[in-house]
């Protein structure tokens, strides 16, 4: 049963792809069936009548017509969450601590990317007459720069604020992380305001990222997807596959797993634990930086506090999936993104406007609590007893 290294490596690339497909399909189907069932049940009640009055279509038609777009939006959001969640999970898996400053690392990535692109625009490198292809190149450069700076920052933060605390009670690095988070928020704000006078930045419009690709038409409704959503998805997939490969099929990955499992023993085996932890933060920070640039691309406006909510959601996603587990982060992200979009779109319909989109976070957290009651280790987590 000896598999060659080559097959193993290919498997490590294919496996997450397959999982991703399965998760996306499964959560789409389950949630779709759920709302269709609800629509069927409430078709002939006051709720159905209310929808007909407001939108001029039957409840079932309303549900079905909007469903494909909801799925598409949910999936995109899910991939954004997953991309951020990977960084959390990576650090948690090795150090077992919630890196609160990850959302600021994410913001740093976003700022570096956007600032670069603004500079490119000022020099006439993007937008206007430039070719479409070059837009993609410049975006890639901005993305890489964001990753580089964010990764470096993450390593620095670990060196300065976390390493001296290793071995302290669990809560101590948590507070230190909160301190780092405050510090970085205001540091970004300081730098941005001194250089530009304002501390929010707007992603420049260039290339064809805002265009929409029509996918198919259903009952007169065209379902389409924005190019930038597609970019976000593709990038998230590459990130996951790359990370999975790195952790499971390389020597560094093996060392990371060893350190995660048992730090003293790993160190006895000749692994430089400090270097591996730095490495983990580098990888986590790089992923966070990439997620930041992608986020700015998708949602246009960023400020130093931009990381807070996505960070919170991504962390929820990581826990939902089973924290410390890479595939779990992806699953958690997709499920959370889907749930939120479904709740945001359909909630006000099924409650006749009493509880609308404002309840989507409550809904998401409610689901999280439910899941954890029945599966305390998260959807994909192994049932290991707490180490500390």
């Amino acid at each position: 049963m000896q598999r060659s290294l080559r097959t193993f490596q290919i498997e490590e690339v294919l496996r997450p792809l397959g999982q991703m497909l399965v998760f996306s399909l499964a959560s789409s189907i389950i949630l779709s069936l759920f709302v269709i069932l609800l629509a069927f049940l409430f078709q002939n009640t006051a709720i159905g009548a209310d929808v007909t009055r407001r939108f001029g279509v039957s409840l079932m038609n309303y549900t079905l017509l909007n469903l494909p777009q909801v799925l598409m939006d949910g999936l995109t959001l899910g991939f954004v969450y997953a991309a951020i969640a990977l960084g959390y999970t990576m650090v948690y898996g090795v150090l077992e601590f919630i890196n609160f400053a990850h959302s600021e690392i994410f913001a740093i990535g976003a700022f570096v990317g956007v600032e670069l692109l603004i500079a490119f625009q000022a020099y006439g490198l993007i937008g206007g007459q430039n070719s479409l292809l070059s837009a993609y190149w410049w975006l890639l450069i901005a993305l890489l720069a964001g990753m580089l700076v964010a990764g470096t920052m993450a390593v620095l933060v670990e060196r300065i604020a976390y390493r001296p605390l290793r071995g302290a009670p669990r809560l101590v690095p948590l507070i230190s992380a909160i301190g780092v988070s405050f510090f970085l928020q205001d540091a970004i704000r300081l730098i941005e305001s001194v250089t530009t006078g304002q501390f929010h930045r707007i992603m420049p419009t260039f290339g064809n990222f805002d265009n929409r690709i029509p996918l198919f038409t259903i009952g007169g409704n065209t379902v389409d997807i924005q190019i930038k959503s597609l970019i976000v998805m593709v990038a998230a997939i590459i990130m996951l596959v790359g990370l999975n490969y790195l952790v499971n099929a390389t020597k560094v990955g093996k060392a990371i797993r060893a350190v995660a499992q048992d730090r003293p023993t790993a160190s006895l085996m000749g692994i430089d634990v400090n270097r591996i932890i730095s490495m983990t933060f580098l990888i986590g920070g790089t992923l966070g930086g990439a997620a930041g640039v992608l986020y700015a691309l998708k949602f246009t406006r960023i400020d130093p506090f931009v990381g807070f909510f996505p960070g919170l959601k991504a962390f929820t996603a990581a826990v939902l999936g089973g924290i410390g587990n890479l595939t779990g982060a992806l699953l958690g992200g997709i499920v959370l993104g889907m749930l939120e979009t479904f709740a945001g779109t359909y909630m006000s319909i099924f409650t006749m406007g009493v509880a609308g989109a404002e309840y989507k976070d409550i809904f998401a957290f409610g689901i999280l609590i439910l899941v954890l009651i029945f599966r305390p280790q998260g959807l994909m987590g192994e049932n290991v007893s707490q180490k500390a």
């Binding site: 001296p164 302290a168 507070i175 230190s176 909160i178 780092v180 704000r189 404002e358 957290f365 305390p376």
Partner: protein, 448 residues
């Protein structure tokens, strides 16, 4: 070198009559300075820190109690009505001490990380806000559209009853949160409690339709206060008017009343916490915190004890919430954000997890830092910018400082740095718990 002389000095301060003389000197100096310059932050800090001296130096317990009561009941009200800002600081310190002590029971004693603690505070605040205002009659109106001449549901004096009710309701909320999360440990618990905190805040923000319970983001106002009888005002003025220097109006005296109420609540809470720590329950909590499996094996009733921890912790926050709502006459969801929970947690950890004096000191430090020191520092710097002052040596005029470098804007940056530095140099907190000190020594050795 310096260690020897310093420790010698400290030793001397603990011998013979020295503790009495030093304590009295500190208190008197502080009181005198505050009296002479009623707006000086440093004088006030000196006065406040005299409580620390009183606690640290070895004196007779009766002496401590009498002097403590004298400061609390005589010095503070006088100082406070001369400058209500001080009273506000003490009041907020009391509020946060109560919150921190409550969170300390959950996090420090029972070892259950709670990131949504402020939810219980919100429950207490909204409880009195709903029943102590016109909100009951606003139920059918969208926020802001109600007529202005609605009656109040209950008289203001019902507040005292609701202080008790807030304890009970918050405790029940604590149990409700505790029940589903009993099986969770560590960070899973943290994230669920975080979610719970957000859910409560968003409910407060969203429950303005279909029935308008919370008035949404607009917040509920006015909320009634318990009445302050005229004879109390007269009595206060009779006794203190000469020292204060002018008669005190009812509005100002309300600050004193809430300060005293907060003081009473705090005293009760501290006594309860101390009694709990050394009781059977307290030891069982420690057992759970240290090793859940072993604790269960030893026959500790896990479910009941965890729920007790949640309930007790929550009730402290609930009672302070009700007090806060009455003192402000206003509540809105903005007071119950995630940052607030994090703030309380940082007080607990900064002061020393599990250590009662530590947590009190932590709450006081963070509150003073936030309201007084950082604010005062930034005011001072912005005053410098408006003056002709020049930094000597490098010959830099303050007014040339970039407008973007305005110090008033970067308080949080300073707070962040302070948190990091504190954690690096004193990971167990300012006053570590005695149990924790022993633990730290062992934990570093079997670090995995």
């Amino acid at each position: 070198m310096s260690r020897i002389s310093l420790s010698n000095l400290l030793q001397m301060a603990q011998q013979g009559r020295w503790p009495y003389i030093l304590t009295l000197a500190h208190v008197l100096l502080g009181a005198l300075l505050v009296y002479i310059s009623p707006r000086s932050n440093i004088a006030f800090l000196l006065l406040i820190s005299s409580l620390g001296t009183l606690y640290v130096l070895k004196t007779d317990n009766r002496f401590k109690i009498v002097l403590g009561l004298f400061i609390a009941l005589v010095v503070m009200p006088i100082v406070g009505v001369r400058n209500i800002f001080y009273l506000e600081i003490i009041f907020q310190i009391s509020v946060f001490v109560a919150l921190a002590l409550g969170l300390n029971i959950v996090v420090g004693f029972a070892g259950l990380l709670n990131l949504g603690y402020v939810a219980f505070y919100a429950v207490g605040a909204y409880l009195w806000a709903f029943f102590g205002s016109q909100q009951y009659y606003v139920l059918p109106f969208a926020p802001g559209t109600q007529p202005t001449d609605l009656p109040f549901l209950l008289p203001g004096d019902a507040f005292y009853l609701f202080l008790l009710l807030a304890i009970i309701v918050a405790a029940i909320t604590g149990i409700l949160l505790g029940l589903p999360v009993l099986r969770l440990r560590g960070d899973y618990l943290a994230i669920v409690t975080l979610g719970f905190g957000e859910v409560i805040r968003q409910l407060a923000n969203n429950l303005d339709k279909p029935l308008n319970f919370t008035n949404g983001p607009q917040g509920i106002t006015p909320i009634q206060r318990p009445t302050l009888p005229q004879f109390a005002v007269d009595a206060f003025n009779k006794v203190f008017q000469d020292i204060v220097g002018r008669p005190v109006e009812t509005a100002t005296l309300y600050n004193v009343m809430f300060y005293l109420l907060a003081l009473i609540v705090i005293l009760v809470i501290i006594i309860v916490t101390i009694r709990l720590e050394d009781s059977k329950i307290g030891r069982a909590w420690t057992a759970i915190r240290e090793d859940e499996t072993a604790a269960v094996a030893m026959g500790v009733p896990l479910v009941r004890l965890k729920l007790t921890a949640f309930a007790v912790g929550a009730s402290f926050a609930g009672v302070m919430g009700a007090l806060m709502a009455a003192s402000r006459t206003f509540v809105s969801p903005e007071s119950f954000s995630f940052m607030q929970s994090i703030g309380v947690l940082s007080m607990v950890i900064l002061g020393g997890v599990g250590s009662i004096p530590g947590v009190i000191l932590g709450a006081a430090t963070v509150t003073i830092l936030n309201l007084q020191v950082l604010q005062g520092l930034s005011l001072y710097l912005s005053q410098l910018r408006q003056s002709d002052a020049v930094i000597p040596i490098i010959n830099f005029a303050w007014r040339d400082l970039s407008t973007q470098l305005d110090p008033a804007k970067y308080q949080r940056l300073l707070f962040g740095i302070i948190l990091i530095i504190m954690m690096i140099f004193r990971p167990a907190g300012i006053i570590p718990a005695q149990r924790r000190q022993r633990e730290l020594a062992s934990e570093t050795s079997d670090d995995k």
